[in-house]
Symmetry: D2
Subunit: 506 residues, 4 copies
Amino acid sequence: GPTRGNVLSGKEFFVLDWIQFADQKQEFNKRPTKIGRRSLSRSISQSSTDSYGSAASYTDSSDDETSPRDKQQKNSKGNGDFCIKNIKQADFGRREIEIAEQEMPALMALRKRAQGEKPLAGAKVVGCTHITAQTAVLMETLTALGAQCRWAACNIYSTQNEVAAALAEGGFSVFAWKGESEDDFWWCIDRCVNLEGWQPNMILDDGGDLTHWIYKKYPNMFKKIKGIVEESVTGVHRLYQLSKAGKLCVPAMNVNDSVTKQKFDNLYCCRESILDGLKRTTDVMFGGKQVMVCGYGEVGKGCCAALKAMGSIVYVTEIDPICALQACMDGFRLVKLNEVIRQVDIVITCTGNKNVVVREYLDRMKNGCIVCNMGHSNTEIDVASLRTPELTWERVRSQVDHVIWPDGKRIVLLAEGRLLNLSCSTVPTFVLSITATTQALALIELYNAPEGRYKQDVYLLPKKMDEYVASLHLPTFDAHLTELSDEQAKYLGLNKNGPFKPNYYR
Amino acid sequence: GPTRGNVLSGKEFFVLDWIQFADQKQEFNKRPTKIGRRSLSRSISQSSTDSYGSAASYTDSSDDETSPRDKQQKNSKGNGDFCIKNIKQADFGRREIEIAEQEMPALMALRKRAQGEKPLAGAKVVGCTHITAQTAVLMETLTALGAQCRWAACNIYSTQNEVAAALAEGGFSVFAWKGESEDDFWWCIDRCVNLEGWQPNMILDDGGDLTHWIYKKYPNMFKKIKGIVEESVTGVHRLYQLSKAGKLCVPAMNVNDSVTKQKFDNLYCCRESILDGLKRTTDVMFGGKQVMVCGYGEVGKGCCAALKAMGSIVYVTEIDPICALQACMDGFRLVKLNEVIRQVDIVITCTGNKNVVVREYLDRMKNGCIVCNMGHSNTEIDVASLRTPELTWERVRSQVDHVIWPDGKRIVLLAEGRLLNLSCSTVPTFVLSITATTQALALIELYNAPEGRYKQDVYLLPKKMDEYVASLHLPTFDAHLTELSDEQAKYLGLNKNGPFKPNYYR
Amino acid sequence: GPTRGNVLSGKEFFVLDWIQFADQKQEFNKRPTKIGRRSLSRSISQSSTDSYGSAASYTDSSDDETSPRDKQQKNSKGNGDFCIKNIKQADFGRREIEIAEQEMPALMALRKRAQGEKPLAGAKVVGCTHITAQTAVLMETLTALGAQCRWAACNIYSTQNEVAAALAEGGFSVFAWKGESEDDFWWCIDRCVNLEGWQPNMILDDGGDLTHWIYKKYPNMFKKIKGIVEESVTGVHRLYQLSKAGKLCVPAMNVNDSVTKQKFDNLYCCRESILDGLKRTTDVMFGGKQVMVCGYGEVGKGCCAALKAMGSIVYVTEIDPICALQACMDGFRLVKLNEVIRQVDIVITCTGNKNVVVREYLDRMKNGCIVCNMGHSNTEIDVASLRTPELTWERVRSQVDHVIWPDGKRIVLLAEGRLLNLSCSTVPTFVLSITATTQALALIELYNAPEGRYKQDVYLLPKKMDEYVASLHLPTFDAHLTELSDEQAKYLGLNKNGPFKPNYYR
Amino acid sequence: GPTRGNVLSGKEFFVLDWIQFADQKQEFNKRPTKIGRRSLSRSISQSSTDSYGSAASYTDSSDDETSPRDKQQKNSKGNGDFCIKNIKQADFGRREIEIAEQEMPALMALRKRAQGEKPLAGAKVVGCTHITAQTAVLMETLTALGAQCRWAACNIYSTQNEVAAALAEGGFSVFAWKGESEDDFWWCIDRCVNLEGWQPNMILDDGGDLTHWIYKKYPNMFKKIKGIVEESVTGVHRLYQLSKAGKLCVPAMNVNDSVTKQKFDNLYCCRESILDGLKRTTDVMFGGKQVMVCGYGEVGKGCCAALKAMGSIVYVTEIDPICALQACMDGFRLVKLNEVIRQVDIVITCTGNKNVVVREYLDRMKNGCIVCNMGHSNTEIDVASLRTPELTWERVRSQVDHVIWPDGKRIVLLAEGRLLNLSCSTVPTFVLSITATTQALALIELYNAPEGRYKQDVYLLPKKMDEYVASLHLPTFDAHLTELSDEQAKYLGLNKNGPFKPNYYR
């Protein structure tokens, strides 16, 4: 069964020692992740071409058309081991990083702790993630913990150029800019990895492209690599495939499936980003609008709650009777898409499935209906079916197309069916903080684990680590945890320091 | 680890066959339940003495003080194999049962299906549960499915006498009345079990007292018994203890830990019953009140959501950082109890823990503060500490005591610290319907399973069964499930008929 | 135009002086109330026969069938000038009164202030209102302020017998019991008024029956009466009719139309009582239920908000496009009743209109549909149309009837179509506190006003009085008002002590 | 008293005739508006310099620095009677207008009706409002109704240049561009008014600057002017001042104080724009944030509801006890600003007052606190007090400044304390539609009213007109009004066609 894992026992868990929990004998889960869903034949991950974010846009008047690969830039200390858009934007980027630091309390706490001890001393981390202010805070934290870092972008659109500039100015070897070609993309990754006299011993990946590249080009590097930390659904899936095929040659940590990440990236984050994404693109008024939300998982739950609160009338589709019953109890009419498709003002997909909104439904929507995707990948809406001669596409704003039927009916398609929350809204720093903290802790654990603790397999972070990451974020809210008394802990059969819930608790 | 289970594979699951799912090769989980929490030394379960419900009260003018054990009653067909308060109340009870039927659509659907085939033909079920209209619908469904039933109450206060009368009038051997003594309690159980020429082959238990009695008095009966279906936390715990000790001699089904039961009995049910329980006892206005909710698990989440919606200002305490962070994201101040204890108007415990509200806190509450318990057991509030000479107790209404301090300050204590939702509100029939359906399906499965499928162990119902129970309840809401296309099912790697989520999904 | 009033100017307003507002030169509105709606030909007000409340029930085992009129009772001081059910229940009643005092902070504050000065010294108040614990707190406050009181019930069902007993024991001349006949009703009123050597000089009425009786039987009494304070819609309407006809012979205060009363009695109170009333009568689960709310005024808004929060799917009907648009913006589908009548689980009327739910709609409801009235009067549901031979009525619980169609379909009719919130739930003390405080202040004002300030007309309380009543209730919530600085007050053109809003502000 | 008005009776109301209501004998209110608050000595209205909106930004790469006054442009038909940024942007503007049309159903309905009859035939309307897509829909509707229009901007920043281009291309004489100087501002207004051979007979104003200009420069024009329609608080105030001073020489219509405008511009609109404005400027996550909302009028209510729904913990300040009690009942802690100023993450002013957030409070806020203004004018936050040498200002994004204290603490000030919803979010078209429809109807009424119906005074639109505007917007939501039966109308004493509520109903 792919959804469960065996418990490692009798092993120490370094990071929890380091963070001075009183009770170190923590067990650690190894398990395959929950999805075995997606065929993944292409070598560049799909997510690496998702168009990304308004956040990057405001300093990009970008009249300079020269490719960064053709420029020679140096930072103020004369260092030129990077490739970015424009080193002169460093000040703007630094400001963004400082703003982000304020909402990433846990990483800042790790930095403080690192003043005494440097658990990543000697670590050479090669990373491939979105290059944003939040990532910059992570990178600078890793450095404070003792690591050296080289970094590329995991997405050709998502780089905040001014942040990349600030990182380059700060001495990081960053290879990334907004609007890379596919060739640029691999070139940047290669520049990160392939440096004479330097060899990575840790990988931090988001999507699996970096890992893939090393497998393909520099398989020998794995001899020195102590482990891989992978964040994305797609990348985790690739790792499990490698593991199944017996080809995974180092331990890997799946940080995608932790409770906090799931709840925050999905329920709480989407609750806000659905409103933000729709407003920024369409200025639509939510009050009184009829909205179709396809799927009532965490993402759907977040979208529905937000829209209901804003006065929309929300309908839900589901395939799973349990989620369906939850939708009913939460006050949403559970329908099939075809029952209401003619009357709704907005259609939002949150299923993780493909071809949920097909041409047949698009044909029947009313004039002005807004269609967007909050699920994952870009397959939920059958956008390809709209690329036919009888339909006219009109780009009315950035990320907003009108698709016009012969009779004049217009559908408002957002982000060409790609993820609305990545393309048209920003992800709150606070949410990214949780993931980044988990990544940092996973790196520390893998780097410091004694020989033999981790096999060539994919591991899940233990519940207690999730709880620890959560606890680091509570001070942001001036939130005060209650502690169990000895008597209460005994009554409940729990350790006073946790974990407090079974692993499956959500 | 006590929270996980091994997967049975390659076995058929009868009930799903019977209900004609297309794909029978369902796996089935066996696992110990999530709690190892409670010492359980007493022979009568604690829950059997919880005071129970307003529902029973309105036909009980009960001037008749004769013990039912001293009466000779017969129903209209001359049958006297029962012992209840008053057979003349049968008509009132029948009306209550008919009302309940309207909100128990899944059992009614099973009855219809049973017209063709009787999967419980030959089953002799002995049951020990709350005797309410909802249980009556379950019992009459079991009979329709072919079973014979004998029944006792699992709680000395909870019997609806008029429902017991209706069951007796309908031919059931029922032994139960409201206000049994402890001696009565065991006498009734014994009368159920101990009948010449009749021996049970199935047990349906709620709290484990019936199972305990048979173990103690009639251990040989287990030779013919095919299995036990147990609903309660307490009873399930007892079964795991037996299993651990190697003393469980028949298979048992844990119906307590299914997703639907957890969500419905806790989140959705408590969302309504907290309001109902407080209103019926105190008529308090919720708007503007400051409320302390201890614990932010499913019960706490339900209570907080309801009170927030009614205009209360809600504070939360938690020990688990993940639940704590959820409370923050849901808009509640996370505090320690002592920070706000002086200012709150209502204190509600939802922790499952003991001594959460101790005398020290009770001393500091303000005049008129309402204190109640929505967790489980009656240990959350340290009521014992209030039974001291300097405090005066004044019973002001049923289930409502004023505890008066020497300076005149009064605390309004509800249900003497026992469960508010059991004592002072009613559980919606619809919620009970979900549990009752699961019980019926578990009985069918155990009764029909081929020799050897189930060992002498405790089993959890599979996810798919949960999904099936949920699906039977959707028509109540006129809710329409979407079906996966073949292509979509393949894309997701799912069977079109489910299960749709991993077992740990909540 | 009937909705506006002229402003009295240059007059003092006694009560505001007394409560030591710094700026006495308060203007005072006189205006006819907003309704000219109801024909009012019968001499006993309709509201006087509305069946009333669960609150009274729990101490009423009431085996004593003797009419109070036939008993001779005396209180412990030997006083027998009262007529109630049973003086022995006085202790129970006293406890209820004490509980009520805790939620009536404003009256308690007036009592404190009265220690120095007694603005009702010499006042002889005859009252006719519901005899409840809250009224008792008002009566004892009036006494503390210097008044003598004689009291009858304004409704034949609503008297809390034990409270009446406590009042009698405390020396009040109370004439009221639960379950009076119409003859009893007038007899009690007469006993209040008609006492040798005692003549009232103030009237506090609720429904207008007391005023009517004095007009009819003792018109000469008005020579000594300084004014009438009237609370109800019906009673206010009667006063305006008298005024229009030139027959009003003393000043009258309309306390029905103040902002606080409207918002609290309607929006906030109904938000809670709709849930309470439905639960107590039917134990229905709200989650997932489809509910039709007829009317989106304050009452409808309260009902809709509560049910939406509990997970119901709510539809709204409206005649007024503005309220209709509000319903849309608040997230409710605006429909005509016939569009959804077949599918809804609950129908609630909140219109103030007649024949909103007629037989035609009742015929088309689905089996088990619950029908109830939260509007006013008992005309919203055409209950008369259900009293036909082909339909069977079955009383299943107190206040709950099943009306059964020939095909077996049942409608669950609550309170026979009378007001659900009066019949099946309790009104929170806090809400009643606002009204009672306003009544007390109105009595003080009328009693102390210099000759000539008030003509023989109907007066509305000024905005500032509303604000004062509101401010007296803020400490309950530990709520802290901000005060304007001189500079800010000048900028806004407001007096620092209010009024802060125009009279029409809601 | 300034808050009330006298009722005109026995007069016809043209517009309602025209729109074919069955019952014309509508009364019409004249009354001064509710505010006498603001000193208004400057000749250019304050609102005319509020910085405005993201909406305009996306087509403005605006490399062209030439002043529009120095350019000679003609539209495709050779007409050059306009002055705008760039006629070539007309196509972009036309698309924006078309998008707006879809959310302005009522104006489109008026256009249809105008096909038969042109009630503004002969009208020469000079207008001074924000030049946006929504205004363009209004202007084109007025033209369809028969009017000629000349238009200037009422704000130097708010013009959408591409919309101005589309209007110019469509033949309108528009004088406006984004980023006018004050001199430009008056020059544009003058160009609208001062045209040889053309004299306006109607004024549509927003802020009163146009009216002011004509008073000052061309007083004789008023001889031909039939009336003024004014939308803003400020402009209405100016009119009442003129009226008081006996200097108002034509009738004027106050469209600011209609119910629909108030509720929509404030409650419903701010409920959405507070979230939008905060997200676009700061990307802040709302969940768990502590927010101080100053003022609980309609704007404050909208802000609080939205933030509560998103998981923020909201505190409220109020000066008015009634609004304060509403805040309590809605579940917000009512505090004084100084009680929580150190702990909150966001401070929002919604008071309409001045100096609500003064330097003393700003000094005590915590690092990173976001401060913004949703009230009106720019005086609520004492921004001037922050312009001192010891504080550093850093512009981090458009509309976002960091104000930095000597110890490094930063306050995030949005829009320099001007209105957040105007500066940093967009106003939904649907809301503007309501106002625009009311303006159009007011113009029709004044233009067609028989001599003498309207005096030289300020008039309020009658309730029925509000209801009519609301009803025109219901089809957008597929909302179906219920109609009164004759019997019901009689029972309620209402006309079947309305008005349904008294004028003071909100």
